[in-house]
């Protein structure tokens, strides 16, 4: 079953007089539980593709369907709801809220807040092996620890899809390996669909499928 359907997706930016096709007519079907690595050099359009899939941006042409919902046509509110419930994001710079503790950062993403927020958050921190650092603010955590908090945050609403934008880009190779293993485990044990973009060949070995992109097109 395809959890994500991308059809004839185009994203055109205007830069002065020039028009740049960041994503140029890409169609993709991603099955539930797949581990996809999208690889390409910088400026190839892989980040734009991820944004379009994740509902962070709207395509110029084409459609994105998430879990049967056409997200590319949803309004802002609906799109926010899709992002919250169906997708978990992981960023290269971790993007934690600097003033919040690890636990609170995880709580920030909870879609329906309740008195059990901290219990839920701590359970997710346990999954990423960081329950002992729950009360630390990001500046007191190492890069790897911060990325684990970000993964816990991505998991907090139990989404089916995890979108990771160069998650190991700011980490040393050993820590990067740990993060990749963690994502692989989530994929294998919890059945999360993972779409990871990277420019490093190294990530290929974790992938069920590798999609190579250049100049906005799938090669």
């Amino acid at each position: 079953m395809d959890i994500i359907k991308v059809e004839k997706l185009k994203k055109i930016y205007k830069q002065g007089d020039k028009t740049i096709s960041a994503v140029d007519d890409i169609s993709l079907n991603i099955r539930d539980g797949e581990f996809i690595v999208i690889i390409g050099p910088s400026g190839s359009g892989k980040s734009t593709l991820l944004q379009l899939i994740g509902g962070l941006d709207r395509p110029t042409v084409g459609s994105v369907q998430i879990d049967g919902i056409v997200s590319s046509k949803a309004n802002e509110k609906k799109l926010a709801q899709i992002r919250r419930e169906k997708i978990g994001f992981i960023f290269q710079n971790f993007n934690l809220i600097p003033t919040l503790t690890a636990r609170e950062n995880v709580e920030a993403a909870i879609s329906r807040h309740s008195a059990k927020d901290s219990i839920v958050a701590e359970a997710k921190l346990k999954i990423v092996g960081l329950e002992k650092r729950a009360n630390h603010i990001p500046s007191l955590l190492s890069g790897g620890e911060q990325q684990r908090v970000a993964i816990a945050r991505a998991l907090v609403n139990d989404p089916g899809i995890i979108l990771a934008d160069e998650p190991t880009g700011n980490l040393d190779s050993r820590t990067g390996e740990e993060i990749m293993s963690l994502l692989r485990d989530l994929n294998k044990k919890s059945g999360k669909t993972v779409i990871l973009i990277t420019h490093s060949e190294y990530a290929k070995k974790f992938a069920d499928r590798v999609i190579e992109i250049k100049d906005g097109k799938v090669i």
Binding site: Q51, D57, A80, R83, I97
Partner: protein, 545 residues
């Protein structure tokens, strides 16, 4: 609740921003508090001076002023006052012997003609809620030595030469004399007296003299001396008489909350409670170095100073205050008053009452608060005019600038948090949640700013009051329209009231200041939040290299 945790984390952990923004808000709020409080204090001070009638529990003042052509309609006493034009004519010779010390007080109606105190019976009870009678007199106090005023003229001692022809004796007279001589010679012969002796000669001489006609023994003549006129120039009387002018007011002492002075205006000592008591204007007492317990002589009568007063009826103040009856007696104005303070039944019927009361006697003049306001000038009025004009402008500038500063700070902070906000949106926050968060943060900053603003505002009011700022107001005395009267009574030209600025701590003002901080923060937060909510979530993915 997560949102509250997030809110407190943002406030507490970004303390630099919290301090900057809330301090800015606090200063703006304190400035507003200070400006508004200051202007309120000014207008309060102004209204005290501008509406002096209210200070003595009234809203109208009835006095008398008459044009010269209407003198015929006046009663006798008022006509005399008007004709005398406040001139003092003193026959010093009647006061005692030259060289003696004398003191004399002459009472003049000043600019206010008197009227019957029974006028109050004619007042319409429907219009007048209460009234107090008053008599304000100017006193010319003279003292010194009685000068030598009489010139002495000595007359008599002149020699007057009179020549007169005496008619010779007639034959009968001669015969009578001869007969008398023969008779005495015969008598002497009978008595045996020698006619040639001393005794005999005397006898003969006496007899002859008594027989002589009367014109030979007594001369009678009428002499008219020449008429002469003596002219002597008498120079100005050289003396040490000094004249001092002061005003004395008679107060209806049985009224406690309406009158020229009120018991509440006594600043030292007490109000009238017996005979021979006088209350002194504090300013006059200081000038004359008088204090409670001293005595003051007025019209050769001693009065005990029982109290010092700061009179608040700035248009009609006096130096000395007596009971009305006492002043009427020593000023020779029994049953006369020249001032009637009236409280009308309804505050809004003052105009109506004023126009009806004008008919009560000839020359009746009603002064209302609005009229007294026109007679005031000076630094207080200038300051009040200035603030009235600029208070709005200044407030708007302060509010706008604080709003702009807070907006800039908020926007700057939002710009720094671009990634954070993008991330929140990426992980599913709606625009409404983002706006709510930022507005709530600013609301919090606004509240902190308001609290510090109130503290700062209170401190500045405290400091401002420490400075003892006072304003002066020059007040013209109510003119009688009878210009010549001013000739003698100089000090009725006007006076200066000094009003201390008392900046009050008003809850409303503090609420306004706090409101400025809170609303400013929330509004600027809202605009910054709108901008933030329009951020596209993909900024979260942009890598910062």
């Amino acid at each position: 609740m997560f949102y509250l945790k997030y809110l407190s984390s943002e406030i507490l952990r970004r303390w630099g921003k919290t301090v900057t923004v809330s301090l800015g808000l606090a200063i703006a709020s304190a400035i507003i508090v200070l400006i508004v409080s200051f202007s309120q204090a000014l207008s309060l001070a102004q209204s005290k001076v501008l509406s002096p009638l209210e200070n003595v529990g009234t809203d109208m003042m009835l006095t008398r002023s008459v044009d010269q052509e209407n003198t015929g309609e006046l009663d006798e006493a008022a006509r005399t006052e008007m004709m005398s034009e406040n001139r003092i004519t003193t026959d010093l010779s009647k006061l005692g012997k030259p060289g003696d010390d004398f003191k004399m007080d002459t009472f003049l109606p000043g600019t206010l003609l008197t009227f019957e105190s029974s006028t109050t019976d004619k007042l319409d009870k429907g219009l007048v809620a209460d009234y107090a009678q008053g008599l304000i007199m100017s006193v010319a106090h003279q003292e010194g030595k009685i000068p030598e005023v009489t010139a002495q003229f000595e007359t008599g001692g002149e020699t007057i030469n009179v020549e007169q022809d005496i008619a010779p004796m007639s034959d009968e007279e001669r015969a009578a004399v001869d007969a008398a001589r023969q008779k005495i010679q015969q008598e002497m012969k009978d008595k045996g007296i020698d006619p040639r002796s001393q005794e005999g000669r005397q006898y003969e001489r006496d007899a002859t003299n008594s027989a002589m006609p009367e014109r030979f023994s007594k001369m009678r003549a009428q002499v008219q001396t020449e008429r002469r006129t003596y002219t002597q120039n008498v120079g100005p009387i050289s003396t040490d008489i000094s004249t001092q002018n002061l005003t004395v007011a008679g107060v209806q002492t049985d009224k406690q909350d309406i009158g020229l002075i009120l018991p509440s205006q006594i600043v030292e000592g007490k109000y009238f409670d017996g005979d021979n008591q006088i209350i002194v204007n504090k300013a006059y007492a200081q000038k004359q170095s008088k204090k409670v317990g001293d005595k003051i002589t007025l019209s050769n009568k001693e009065y005990d100073i029982v109290g010092l007063v700061e009179p608040k009826l700035y248009t009609n103040t006096a130096d000395l205050y007596l009971s009305l009856g006492e002043l009427q007696k020593i000023a020779g104005r029994e049953n006369r008053i020249n001032l009637l303070l009236i409280k009308s039944t309804k505050a809004n019927s003052v105009e109506e009452a004023a126009s009806k009361l004008k008919g009560v006697f000839t020359g009746a003049k009603i002064t209302s608060s609005a009229d007294t306001a026109k007679q005031v000038s000076g630094s207080l009025v200038s300051a009040a005019n200035l603030t009235n004009r600029f208070i709005l402008l200044t407030s708007v500038i302060v509010i706008l600038s604080s709003f702009i500063i807070v907006s800039l700070l908020t926007v700057a902070s939002i710009n720094k948090r671009t990634r954070e906000i993008g991330t929140l949106k990426a992980i599913g926050w709606s625009n409404a949640e983002v706006i709510r968060q930022i507005v709530a943060e600013n609301l919090m900053l606004g509240i902190i700013g308001a609290v510090f603003g109130v503290i700062l505002g209170s401190l500045s009011i405290f400091v401002l009051n420490k400075f003892d700022i006072s304003f002066s107001a020059n007040i013209e005395n109510a003119s009688s329209g009878f210009g010549m009267m001013r000739r003698f009574v100089e000090q009725s030209a006007g006076q200066t009231a000094s009003v201390d600025l008392d900046v009050a701590y008003s809850i409303v003002v503090f609420a306004t200041g706090a409101g400025v901080a809170i609303i400013g923060a929330v509004v600027s937060g809202f605009f910054a939040a709108l901008k933030a909510s329009r951020l596209r979530p993909q900024v979260a993915l942009r890598n910062i290299e």
